[in-house]
Symmetry: C2
Subunit: 341 residues, 2 copies
């Protein structure tokens, strides 16, 4: 096939190139009938207007950037699906960027996006607790930004979160009700707001049930699988908890592996509950009790907040907060009687 | 902070705007010292050259688009990591597009990308077997494209695949050696090349061991979780296989759920082996025997093939094929003696 450009398309239709380009810009000078004629012919000839040129005029990339800390986490892949669904309904594409919990990558992505790559950003922040004032440096030019799940509390922008404090309180209480007296809390970055909120729920549940809070039972893990294996095995051996509450699913997996290696039985020797959206949690050995966040719905709500700014010109610098509810799904990893296979 | 533009940056440094823009284009007229001075000041003032404008000149978006059928699959998230690593080393970003195995989405993404969105595409094709001649319609203007894992055989472009035929042969043979005589093959789309190749390995292994091939034991599943649940339960009840080989991991999960519901024991009543890169396969009940593809390495090789075209001007229309080796990891789901917990 010969290469097609706007001139050839115009010739094929016997229109001027300016009529063609106005049709692509959806200019009201052009009738609906002419527009549909042009779009049909363009499709037939496989012609697409040049993206960069038309976006320079329109100042719109029709793109939402989604920044997540990791992909190998069921929560984020489900949230992305939710965002994508709403974006598509609004005629937008999504781009996905993965920070691997690395703060420098996050800063680079955000800077990069500000030169015309996207119309807005939906982000769950990296796990590292660095200076995030970089977001304020863009001033009025900052792109519309919506946080979900992991947020920077001090940045004035809309956010979608779940009732983490309450869920953590109930998760800890569930372990206590199942007979645990010495409960560890495993977290990746306890200084990040989400880690802190979840930890507070844990601490308050202990207090309510008159269990002493021991600082050492808060186990600060890392982003490395190997390091976590050592950290968790040491914690299980030295601190001898009878239950653990993990703030992210990969710490629950690491706990399972550690128990296999140490010949500890879950739930007899150690009960485990975790924040997780893992769809195969029932297939684990033993099946994992989870605090399940409504991940897809969180993504949808975040996208809706963003379109309120993009389409309805709502102020982008507001603390507009949507809070959704997680639920605890009880399975065998917190069972209080020996498991019957 | 006041908004910053090229003029203000030039004033702050007492350079001309043309010097600034030549520095950003990495023009050899500008000394390294001047360049670094300009880049430093730009960083300090949070200035980035306009993306669309500079890309119009450079004709480069410095972006690789990665198109995958799904994200909630460990194989693809690991492959994306591999691609991202190589892209970053080459100073490129990646964009991720998810087709959800939907052919129309794939076609739309590809068309969209051809108007300047990306410099090249790495794709694992959607599971649907439709006309993929649309890729040829771009003619010489087609973006450099590399396939990985799921490919369209007739499109002349580089690809990275694994030894699927051989792995499937060995997987089927493993089931036979563990005592299976009636082995089902579960596939999502048997007309797609990857499904066909894997099926042929299964058929040939049966033949080698003098086991009759029965067409009905090829179970064609769907993309819907609910439909698969019914399809698989019906197959297990009516065909009574003693082993199943699943071509993608979610069919293995669906088989586990079906066995739980039907009170069939894995591996006593049914042995299961699956293509899967699931990192928590050892944590399943029972642990899952897998054919594990070197997912991250596949992603890296695909990216390297693409950069051969982008940087070394290698012909983009070649059947350049890289074949990597998968390995079978034997676990309890194919154990030939009753499992000891």
């Amino acid at each position: 096939m010969d290469s097609i450009n706007i001139k050839k398309l115009a010739e094929a239709l016997n229109f001027s190139t300016s009529t063609i380009s106005r049709a692509f810009r959806d200019n009201s000078d052009i009738s609906a009938a002419t527009k549909s004629l042009i779009l049909e012919k363009a499709k037939e000839l496989n012609y697409q207007p040049n993206h960069y040129a038309s976006n320079l005029r329109e100042q719109k990339s029709k793109t939402i950037a989604v920044i997540v800390p990791e992909l190998a986490n069921n929560y984020f892949s489900q949230a992305i699906h939710g965002i994508e669904r709403v974006a598509r309904e609004n005629g937008y594409h999504i781009l996905i960027y993965v920070t691997d919990d690395n703060y420098d990558k996050e800063v680079n992505f955000i800077r990069h996006l500000h030169n015309g790559r996207a119309d807005g950003i939906i982000m769950s922040v990296s796990g590292e607790a660095n200076d995030h004032n970089y977001l304020n440096k863009f001033g009025a030019k900052r792109l519309p930004l919506v946080f979900f799940d992991r947020i920077y509390e001090d940045i004035k922008t809309p956010r979608v979160i779940t009732n983490d404090y309450n869920s953590s309180f109930l998760a800890t209480e569930h372990l206590i009700e199942q007979g645990c007296k010495r409960i560890g809390y495993l977290v990746v970055n306890k200084t990040l707001s989400i880690g802190k909120t979840r930890m507070q729920g844990y601490i308050d549940a202990l207090a309510k049930h008159n269990i002493n809070f021991e600082e050492q039972l808060i186990v600060d893990c890392s982003n490395s699988y190997e390091e976590n294996s050592t950290i968790i095995k040491d914690a299980l051996t030295q601190l001898k908890p009878d239950g653990v509450f993990t703030s992210v699913e990969r710490l629950a997996f690491a706990t399972y592996y550690a128990c296999y290696d140490l010949h500890l039985s879950i739930p007899d020797d150690l009960k485990v509950i975790s924040f997780s959206s893992l769809e195969i949690a029932p297939l684990l050995n033993p099946s994992l009790t989870t605090i399940t966040q409504p991940a897809a719905e969180i993504g949808e709500e975040a996208a809706k907040l963003l379109f309120k700014i993009l389409d309805d010109n709502q102020d982008k610098n507001v603390f507009n907060e949507v809070i959704l509810q997680s639920k605890i799904v009880v399975r065998n990893s917190t069972s209080d009687s020996p498991e019957k296979p």
